[in-house]
Subunit: 339 residues, 4 copies
C-alpha cells in the first residue's frame, strides 16, 4: 500500500527502506533534499515540500512523521492543515503521549485520524524489524495493518510464536494497545524499563570491575573508610568474557547483553566514552506517570537520576554536603581530582 | 569422565541427567534415598552414605556439591576429611564467595583443590544447559573441562558464537573467572543484576497496569492528592499482550521477558501469587561488595529493598512516619485496608 | 489590620486565633456555620456566605483562603468574581504552585493581586508561629506584612536572629520568595525535604529495632538467606531512649526528632498506627520539578515511593517478581503472612 | 574523677578541655608531643609514652581512646597489655561496632572492661556538649558516669528535659544503650540517618536552585528532552534566605539546617567546595546492618551511593550506559564538559 514518510533521519530512512523491500509505495519528504534523493534512488517517490508531499498521497492519505520530539507537535498541525477528513497522521517519534491524546482530540474535530506508534529497534530495525506499539482509532489502525506488518519483525524473527495470527499480532511484533496515546504510553514505559535494565547491567559490571579493590592501595585517614577484608577483593575479572558467558544459558541473557558483550569485546576499557549519559524524555515521562498514579518506581527513578548525575547536575548538592560536613565536623574534603 | 554429585534437589538431579546424556559416569548421593534411587534408574551409580560416595570415586576424585547455602560449609569440611591430596571439591551452590576464598585456603593446606562454580539456568538448565561461572586453581578447572562443557549450553544454544573454541569457552557458556571465589563472585553479581532487571520489568508493568487510573474514582480529601489530569490515564492496557510484543524487535527483549510473557499469558492477574518476594542471599552480598568497594549501586539496592519491604520489613518505619505526621500535623491515616 | 479568612479547618482556625491575639481584625467564613461561630466567640467577625464575607472586607480587600488543594482553584475563581481591582487573594493552602502561576496571570487581567503563601507549622503553629513562604507582587506582599509578621514566629521564637530587621524578614520566620508561585514552590520543596528527613529517621529507627535479629530464630532454607554473624545482632535497643538522647548535642537534632521522641515515649510500639502513610501532593510535585529540571533526587524519591508502597501499590509488581522467580527457578514463595 | 585520654586530635583535645572545666583530672597522651603540651598548659597531666600514660592512671584505670578507626584496634591491644583486671578501656572513636563486640569478648578474658562510646557533636561539642551513646558492662559504665555527665550537654543545654534524673540520663545527653558494641551500633545508625537527612536538604536545595531553569536556553535535539513548561521555572530563589526562614517555625527545622543557613549566608555559591564528598565508614556499616537484618533502607542507601558517585565511582557504569546507547541506537553523547 501507499504510505508517506516525513523525517528521513536514521530511523525514518531505514523504515522506508524496509517498506520498499516489502513492495510498499513510499512518498518521502525531509527538509534536507539529500535525504530525499537517497531514498528516491532506492525506489521511493520524493517530494520537495510539505505541500507536494501531501499532494502526492492518495486518499485516504497516510502520512507517517518520524521527527524529533521537540518539533513534532508543530509539524503535526501544519500537515493537518493540508489534509482532509478520513486522512491519517501517524507519529512514530518519541513524543510525549500527552501530545498524542491532545492531538487526537483536536484532529478528530476535523475528521482526521491520529495514530501514535512507539517504535523500538534502533539502528538494528532495518534488518531485525521494528517493535511497534500502536494507539489510535480502530479503523485507522486496521487500515495501516500492512505497513505495520512489514515494519515489524514478523513471525520469522527471533523467537517464533507458538500460535498463528489467530493469537493476535503481538507475536509478529506489533500491537494495537488502545486509543490515541496508548502507543506512546506503552513505548514510554518500554524506555523507562530500558533505563532500569541498562543500569542494572552497568552497576553490576562496575562492581565486577572493582573486584580487585584489595590489591589497590587505599589511604587510611579520618576521611576514608579502610577496606575491611582485602583478601576478598583480589579478583581481576575479565568483564568482556563475563558478558559473553552470561549470554549463554544464564537468567539475565538479553539483547542488551548481546550488544554489551560486543561493545566490551571491542574496547573493554570503554575509552571512547566520556561518562555523560543523555536521556531523551521517556524515562522522565515514565516517572511522572508513576508519580501521578502513585505507583512505586524506585529502580526506574534511580536509573534516571544516575543519568542526571552523570550530566553534572548533582554538583551543587554535593558541594552543600561538603559544606555541612565542614560546618559540623571541620571536615575538609579531598580534592575532586583525587578520586 | 567420572564425577560425583552430592545434593540431588531440583538443580543437582537435573545436572546429573544432563551429564548422563553426554556419557559421563555419575556417582550420586543425597540424604533422601528416593532421590538417589531415581537417578540410579536413569543410569547413575548410587551411594548410601557420604563415605560410600567418596569411596566410589576414582582418584583424583571430583565431588560436586549442590546444597543449600546454609549447610554447604559444614558438608565441605566433612567431605574434605574423607579425601586425599589432589582430589577436587566443587561447590556449585549459591554460597557466599567469602566461604570459597576461606575454604580454598584451608583445603589447600591438605593438598585438596576447591572449585566454586556459580550455576545459572534454573529449572530450564536441563534442556538449555547451565551458564557456569568458575573459580579455582587452573589444573583442577582444566581437569573438569569435559564436565563443564557438557553442563553448559554449548555452541549450538541460543546465539551461535562467531568464533570457534579459540575464542575461549565463554561462547560455549562456561568461563574460568579467576582463583577460588571468583566463580561465586561473578555469580553473585549476576544475581544482583537479575534482581535489578526483574524489578525494572515489574515496575514498568505496574505503571502500565495503572494507565487507567483516570477511570477510577479517587477520593479528594486533605490526605489524598487528586489526580491532576485524568484524561491522560484512560488506557486499559493488556499487559500480557504488551509483554509478548516487546519480545519481538524491541530493545528490552530478554529471556526473563520471554518467561514473563508466558506467565502473564497464563494468568494476567497473577492471582496465584501473594506478593511476598524472597531473596536468597546473592542480592545482599552484591550490595555488600558494592559498599565495601565504594561502588554506587542504587538500582540494585532499590530492587533488594523492595523485596525486604514485600516481606513486611518496612512496617515499623511506616508506622513511625504516620506517628510523625500525626505529631506535627494531626494527620490521621486512612486504614491500611483502604488502599 | 483587617484580613478575611475563608476555610476554618485546623489550620485556618488557628491562624485566625493567632491573628486576633495580635489585634488584627478578622472576617471569617466557612461552609460549616459552627466553625464560624467558634471564632466569632473568640472575637472574629463572622460571615454566612461568600458574598457576605467579601462584602464585609474593606478595600483594598485581602481574602486569605485556607482550603483543601482539591477545591481551592474553583473557590479562587468564585471569590475573584466578587472582588475589584486592587484587591488581594491569598492562597495559604497546599496548592500546586502551577495553579498559583496560572491564577496570578488570569487574575492580573482583572487587576487583582494573587499571593501564594506556603505555610508550615502544623498543629503547633498557633503557639510556635507559622513559617511562611510567600510569592506574589511586591506591593501586595508589602501590604500584608503586618499579617505575615503576626503569623510568623517572630524574633523571639526558638533561635534568636543575630541581625535585626535590616537583615530581612527571614529571621522572623517569613520570606517573600519571588513572584506568584514562588511561595508554593518553596513550600513544595520544603515538604519534599520533609519526606526525606522523616524517612531517614524512620529507616534508622527500623534498623535499631532489628539490632536483636541474632536472637530470633531464622529459617534456613533455600528461600532464605541465613544471618551470617548472629553474635553482632544481640542488642535490645530502647529506641524511645535513643530518640531522646539524640535530641541533646547530636548532629541529627531537629524538631521532627523532638516530636518523634515524644511519640515513642508515649507508645514505643506505635500500636495505634497501621503502617499506611498518606502523601498529600507536595512530595509528588517536588519530584516532578526535579524531573523537569534534570536534578537528581534519589533520596526524596525513595521517600515518596516508600509511601506509595505502604499504600499497597507495589503489590502487582511484587507478584510479578514472584511469578518470574517461579518461572525460571521453580521458587514457591512463602505465604505473605509468614513474614 | 580521673580519666586518661589518648589521641588528642580535634575531638580528643576538646573533650579534655571540657572535662578539665568540670574539675576532672585528665592524664593525656598523643604521639605528637605538641598536642600533649597544649593540654598540659590547660591543666592536664601529660605523658610521654603509652607506658607512662598507663602508669600515671590510678586503679581501676580508665583509658579513653579517641583515635582514627583505622588504628584503634591495634592500640586497644597495646593498651590492654599494660593494664590489669578491673581496668577500663573506652573507645570513643568512629570504630565499627563489630570490633567492640570482639574486643570486649577478648578483653573480658583478661578481666578488663571494654566500653564503646559513640560521640556526636563535632567541633561544637566543646561548647554544646557531646551526645554520648554508650555500650559496655553495667559496672564500668556506672563507674564512668561523672565523666559522661560532664562531656554530655546536661540538663541546661538546648531543650530542657521535663523530667528530672529519675527519667534516666537520656535527657542529659548520654545513654547506656546495652552491652559492648551497643554504643557504636547506635552511633553508626545515627550517622546513617545523618547521611539521609543531609542528602534530603541537599537535594531540595538543588531543586530550588534549578527553579529558574525556564530562563536558561536549553538545546532541543534528539539527545535532549525539552523543558515542557518553561513558564513554571522562572524563579530566582535566594536559597540562603530560604534556609534561614525554614529555621523559624517550619517542620524541617534542625541543627543541620542552622549550620546550612550559616554556610549559605557566608557563601551562597559554595565556591570553596569541590563537590567530592567523603564517607568515613558509619554510613557503609549502617547499610550492611540493614542488609544483614533484611530491613529496607532505600533513603539511607541513596544518600551513601550519591557520595560514592561524587567520588567518581560511577564513571565506568556511566560509560557502559553510553556504550549501550551507541550500540542499539547510534546515539553519540555530548561531551562531559558540555553539562
Amino acid at each position: 500500500m501507499q504510505i508517506g514518510m516525513m523525517g528521513l533521519g536514521r530511523m525514518g530512512a531505514n523504515m522506508v527502506r524496509r517498506l520498499l523491500r516489502d513492495g510498499h509505495e513510499c512518498v518521502v519528504y525531509d527538509i534536507n533534499p539529500a535525504s530525499v534523493e537517497a531514498l528516491v534512488t532506492a525506489g521511493a517517490i520524493g517530494a520537495a515540500s510539505m505541500e507536494e508531499f501531501v499532494g502526492k498521497l492518495t486518499k485516504p492519505r497516510s502520512a507517517w512523521l518520524m521527527l524529533p520530539a521537540a518539533i513534532t507537535s508543530r509539524i503535526v498541525d501544519q500537515v493537518a492543515d493540508l489534509m482532509e477528513p478520513g486522512d491519517i497522521i501517524v507519529d512514530g517519534g518519541n513524543s510525549y503521549y500527552h501530545e498524542a491524546v491532545d492531538h487526537a482530540a483536536r484532529l478528530a474535530l476535523k475528521g482526521l485520524n491520529y495514530v501514535d506508534v512507539g517504535t523500538s529497534g534502533g539502528v538494528w530495525g532495518l534488518e531485525r524489524g521494528y517493535c511497534l506499539m500502536i494507539g489510535g482509532p480502530d479503523s485507522a489502525v486496521q487500515h495501516l495493518d500492512p505497513v505495520f506488518a512489514s515494519l515489524a519483525p514478523g513471525a520469522d524473527a527471533g523467537v517464533v510464536p507458538a500460535a498463528g495470527k489467530d493469537a493476535g499480532t503481538a507475536p509478529f511484533g506489533y500491537l494495537h494497545c488502545g486509543p490515541s496515546g496508548a502507543g506512546h504510553f506503552v513505548k514510554m514505559v518500554h524506555n523507562g524499563i530500558e533505563y532500569g535494565v541498562m543500569a542494572a547491567y552497568a552497576e553490576g559490571m562496575n562492581i565486577l570491575k572493582s573486584a580487585n579493590a584489595g590489591k589497590r592501595q587505599r589511604t587510611a585517614d579520618a576521611e576514608t573508610s579502610p577496606l575491611e577484608n582485602p583478601q576478598y577483593y583480589q579478583f581481576d575479572i575479565d568483564i568482556a568474557e563475563v558478558a559473553e558467558v552470561w549470554r549463554h544459558g544464564s537468567v539475565i541473557g538479553s539483547w542488551l547483553l548481546d550488544l554489551t558483550a560486543g561493545v566490551l569485546k571491542a574496547d573493554s576499557g570503554l575509552t571512547q566514552f566520556g561518562g555523560r549519559v543523555s536521556d531523551s524524555g521517556e524515562g522522565r515521562w515514565t516517572l511522572k506517570a508513576a508519580i501521578d498514579t502513585g505507583v512505586p518506581a524506585p529502580v526506574l527513578s534511580s536509573a534516571l537520576f544516575d543519568r542526571f548525575a552523570s550530566q553534572g547536575e548533582s554538583e551543587f548538592a554535593d558541594k552543600l554536603l561538603s559544606a555541612m560536613r565542614y560546618a559540623f565536623g571541620g571536615h575538609v574534603e579531598k580534592p575532586k581530582t583525587g578520586s
